[in-house]
Structures are given as C-alpha cells and as structure tokens.
Symmetry: C2
Amino acid sequence: MNEVPLTAVKALTFDVFGTVVDWRTSVASELRATLGAKGYELDWYRLADEWRSQYQPALESVRSGQRPWVTLDVLHLENLGTLLEQHSISGLSDAELEELSHAWWRLDPWPDTVDGLTRLKERFIIATLSNGNIALMVNLAKHGGLPWDAILGAEISHSYKEQPQTYLHSAEALGLRPDEVALVAAHNGDLLAAAACGFRTAFVSRPTEHGSNQTTDLEAEHDFDVVATSLTDLAQQLGC
Amino acid sequence: MNEVPLTAVKALTFDVFGTVVDWRTSVASELRATLGAKGYELDWYRLADEWRSQYQPALESVRSGQRPWVTLDVLHLENLGTLLEQHSISGLSDAELEELSHAWWRLDPWPDTVDGLTRLKERFIIATLSNGNIALMVNLAKHGGLPWDAILGAEISHSYKEQPQTYLHSAEALGLRPDEVALVAAHNGDLLAAAACGFRTAFVSRPTEHGSNQTTDLEAEHDFDVVATSLTDLAQQLGC
C-alpha cells in the first residue's frame, strides 16, 4: 500500500472486459441470436467461454513475436472461425461471420458501470487500458454509454497486456508519470503487472464474470490501494 | 459534391484548433496572465499570433523527416522558448515555462461548440483529428467539456496533417473506410487534403479565428459536402 492516497492520482485507467462490461452474458446472447436462428442448439454460455478461452493464446502469439501486432478484432474473427469449425457449424457468409465477431462491440455494461464512471469522470481523467482496439472500444462505448475521456491500451502501444509497454505507453500518452495513474481491474494479474510498472491499483470484484461457478479473481489477493465491490463503490470510496 | 448524403457517414472527425476552440483569445489571455504578472506589457494577441506562426514550420521539421516525430506539446514548449527569446523575456523557471506551454491545454470552445458536438454525438461517432497529442486533447476536453468518443489524429499515426496517413490511419483506427468518415474543419487546405484521402468534408466558417482582420478561410473555397456557420448549424443540417 502506497502512503499517498489514491485520490492524488490524475487518471483512472480501466480494464474493460469483465471489469466494465459483462462479456459472457452478452456474447452468449449474440451467439444464440445468430446461430439459434440457423437451427443450432448449443450451450451458449459454454460456447462463449470457449471463444474467450482462445483469447490468451491468440494474444500470446503476438506478445511472443510469433506474428506482428494485429488488432483484437482480427483475433476475435479468427478465433470465431476456429470455434465454429470445432463445433462443425457452417453456413455463415463472410459478412455474417464478421458481424458475429462484432458481438464484442456490443457487450452490456454491469449495472453499476455507467453511474460509477460518470461520477469518477467528474474528478479524474477516465480512460480504457484494454487489449481491445480503438474501433472495438469506441463501439462498446456507444453501445453502453461509457463516457471515456480517451481510448488507450493495446492499439496505441502495439502491445498486449500484461506487457509493460501497454501500461507505460498509456500513462505517457496522458503526459503522466505511472504513479499519477491507477489501473482499475477485476483481475489480480493485471493489477500486479500495472503495479510493477509503478501504477496505483484498484481492485473491483466481479464474482460472476465467468458465471456462478467462478473460481478465480473472487477477491483481491494482494495489497492493492483500494478494493471495491463495484464502480459506484469505487466512486464512493474516492469521494466522487 | 458526392451523391451520397453526408448523413450516411458513420463518424465525424474534427480539426480542433480554430474549428472547435478559439485558441487566439485563450492563448493571449494566458500570456497576459503569466507575463503580465511579471511586469511585461505587450500586445498579447500579437504574441499569441507569433507563437502560432511557429507552428507550421515546427510541424514541417517533423513532416520532412528532418527530426523524428515528437508531440505537439514538445513543439509548443520549444516554440515558446524561441518566442520569449525573441522578445527578450526571461525569468521564468522551467516549471513556469512548461505550465505556460500548457496554455494550449486550456483553450476555450467557441460558444456553439459543446451544444453542437453533443447533438452530433447522438447520431455519429465524434473524434478529434488534430495535430494535438493525446494529453493535450484530453486536457482540452476536460477544460471545455468536449464530449469526444475518441482522440485520433497525429499521435496515433505519428504523422502530422496534412500528411495523408494522419487522415487514413484515423479512419482505419475506427474500423471505417475513408468515405465513411467526414472531416469537419474551418480550413480549406485541411479539407482538401482529407478529400484527397477519400474523406467526406464539412466546412465550418470561423471568420475571427485570427482576429477581426482575418483574410484567410473566410469561406469555403471548394465544393465541400456541407458548408456551415457553426457546429450547431452543422448539427441542424445533419438532422441532429
């Protein structure tokens, strides 16, 4: 725990998938709408989980240098192709595949998100620090009414969390030192990586991000600057 | 004039200095506040104009490849040093110089700006397409209440208008084709350069950007898609 209060930071940056938006429910719903209409009957939550499970391996192929940096939109589309092949699902046109891959542009915020961000924005610069690319983040903001001041993260750094440059370049883009910026996230690993770069940290618990049987990130496992149960709780704790 | 109506675009991108904010009045006021307090008496508007007149040559040193890409914040600080030296103004600490260079972070919007942008945002993605860097644009937005969806332009492309990649990379970052994006600007040259990249165009007249004796960009000199007298007029014309 840092001696300086977290309210001294100038910017709050946010992990988005899981922390700000409920990707699992939204993606399951999009899969059901598109594939259900074509006659498929599947466990849509499980399908959403399987799509998401390809996320880290895909990012790793970029982080490791195995392939040049590409946007998350590209990776989501590729991974969707793999997912559908694994389930022998066919008959979608290229346009339908792209549209379905944009399910990640239409994720609903958690119920406390918009109120919390709106309150925090009064006092702090609020920005995304996500692996999502700018187009994805902008469309997500339009969909959910997320009042970001800036879209930072992967695309402006051409790197992916938890690579240090993703955090460091985001602070630099704001003209701030790392210790003038906090990361808000529902994931212990993300916060640890940010802290290692000098960021301040706020853990927000999202115990149903992965469904009711979630086993990971149920609570803060380290000495973060603030631990909150929602973004409105965070706003409250920061005096907003 | 394109046959497809401008309302078909998905994003409006904006030149900022002069189009969205009144840099001249604001910078003159900041110069007066800082240097006046130190006993200097000068024509503050003229000083603001001189500072601004170093802008294009500084950008050209980057565009030409003479020096690597640096942010406009860096160029504003360098140019301030030159300006003060030319006027034999001394006695400012490094911190005071940096603070004064951030006059460009605190430019007031034109009276129609916030209303116009707020209305346009209901229907379109609205983003900056400015030579200003992200920190500058974010602070400007906080200062004036500018409700951008995204900060695009120079920093994400590491180029400066009117280089084509500044426009093209901004459209690409939104996941859009150039003809799905319009540039809104008070400057004929900027709009011509955007149009050459395939952008749609909206001219907004700002006949006092350079003061009451302004001689340039008083009106649209080419066949742009829309010609407006303010951002609220633009909103009106686009049905917002």
